[in-house]
């Protein structure tokens, strides 16, 4: 199956290794990713704070481009995913927002393509089995906790998830490639990335608690599927030295396509976990 792909602004900056490992994993599984034409910034965690319409209009333009491309859309960045899903929800609910988006962007949402995070994608039938079949290097020495944070799961009316409090597919994916995924109670707590600019100490307090709890659970790393969670946890954990891995890096390592360049992009070096 081939997909449309919306990498988002961080794919070429702070989330370089997230983009590179996502592309590597999909290509190894034989699923092509085609970048949607001329995509724009989704508004991040900022636009909706300042203006309701800008917060919907920016992601809605990407939704319109993806619909024209005609394939289900993969969005690895959790923030981009949540914003595009919010625009989709607004279009589907109808009302004033939908009418204005329709007029300004000259498009009508027909619901013909699905908008998927990597968590949604892993939950699709056959995807985890497909991964299992391609494992070259089972990660039997790797012990992790999976961390979902906010934007991949909440709010329910936008993500449409049956479980917002206890999603489990990242753990299932880690187990499918031979790693040990441990239980912990902090998988959907917030890392406070929004506070990183202006109140770095507060973001550090939230991240440090998560890193401490991951260590207490016995994990050697936290596995995430969000660029903001990754950089915030990697930079702001009070020197605990806990690597923060993208799910696609874990999968890529097991599929035998990991690159040293991925590990070099991290603040807390994860390369020792894959020797």
């Amino acid at each position: 199956m081939t997909y449309s792909y919306y990498p988002g602004c961080t794919a070429h900056s702070t989330g370089w290794e997230f983009n590179d490992s996502t592309v590597a994993v999909f290509s190894t599984l034989g699923s092509g990713l085609t970048e949607i034409e001329d995509w724009n910034c989704c508004g991040g965690a900022s636009a909706h704070n300042l203006d309701h319409f800008v917060g919907l209009g920016l992601p809605a333009r990407n939704l319109s481009i993806a619909q024209a491309a005609g394939k289900d859309l993969i969005i690895p960045c959790a923030g981009c995913y949540n914003n595009v899903k919010k625009a989709q929800t607004a279009m589907e609910e109808g009302g004033e927002d939908a009418a204005k988006l329709k007029r300004v962007l000259d498009f009508d949402w027909q619901g013909k393509v699905a908008v998927l995070s990597l968590v949604d994608w892993l939950e699709r039938p056959g995807v985890i089995d497909g991964l299992t079949a391609k494992v070259k290097r089972p990660l039997s020495n790797l012990k992790v906790v999976a961390y979902y944070g906010c934007q991949l799961v909440r709010p329910q009316r936008v993500t449409g998830r049956s479980s917002c409090e206890n999603p489990t597919v990242l753990e299932e994916a880690c187990r499918a490639v031979g790693a040990t995924a441990l239980d912990w109670s902090y998988k959907v707590d917030c890392c406070g990335a929004d506070l990183a600019f202006g109140h770095g100490d507060r973001a550090e307090a939230l991240c440090t608690k998560l890193a401490q709890q991951a260590k207490a659970a016995g994990a050697d790393a936290i596995v995430v599927s969000c660029g903001l969670c990754q950089i915030n946890l990697d930079m702001r954990q009070s020197g605990l030295g806990l690597p923060i891995l993208y799910i696609t890096e874990v999968l890529g390592a097991a599929l035998g396509v990991a690159k040293d360049k991925w590990w070099k992009k991290h603040i807390n070096d994860p390369s020792g976990l894959f020797r």
Binding site: D38, F53, L195
Partner: protein, 180 residues
């Protein structure tokens, strides 16, 4: 219902009358420590029409839209769109904000998206630093070291990437109330 409560209901699409002050929103909030009043108190204040207090508060800028409160509300009230409505009103009315650095960041970020169609971290962060004057504050050295590490790892590109559809981006901003 107070006129302010009607205004917030209209903007947020949330039914404030359903709140029975069970405090579940407050119990799960990761940032309530930095609010002047707890989450359920914010709802009550809207019902009471305490407009100036709320639009000039830290609470509305310390909410990080994690959506935990809305997910857990037994009455289906989502506090995030309510907070969005309060923040947007404060910006529209040009209210003095007690969290200037947070607002400066959001404005620099959205300004970058408006300019290029995509966010360019290097110029966005420079604008944020300049406008927030954070470089004059304690703790800046630590932040600068973190930024330098990212730069050294090639995570902050020097050149921006632009979209072709700038006219469409401009139209979205032109149809909004936002002045940056």
């Amino acid at each position: 219902m107070h006129a302010f409560a009607s205004e917030i209901q209209e903007r947020s699409g949330q039914n404030l009358s359903r709140c029975y002050q069970c405090k579940k929103c407050t119990a799960g909030c990761p940032t309530v420590t930095w609010f002047e009043w707890p989450n359920h108190g914010v709802v009550r204040m809207i019902q009471r029409g305490l407009r100036d207090e709320l639009l000039g508060s830290k609470a509305i800028w310390m909410c990080v839209t994690c959506e935990t409160c809305g997910t857990r509300c037994p009455n289906g009230i989502y506090l995030s769109p309510i907070m969005d409505a309060l923040r947007a009103l404060a910006v529209e009315e040009g209210r003095p904000v007690p969290e200037p650095a947070v607002v400066a960041f959001h404005k620099a970020f959205v300004g970058s998206a408006k300019r290029f169609g995509r966010v360019h971290e290097a110029t966005m962060l420079a604008e944020f630093m300049w406008k927030s004057k954070l470089f004059l504050q304690k703790g800046f050295v630590g932040e600068a070291v973190g930024g330098a590490k990212l730069f050294a790892k090639g995570k902050i590109p020097l050149l921006p990437s632009s979209v072709k559809g700038k006219a469409e981006i401009a139209k979205i901003f032109a149809e909004s109330e936002l002045k940056l």
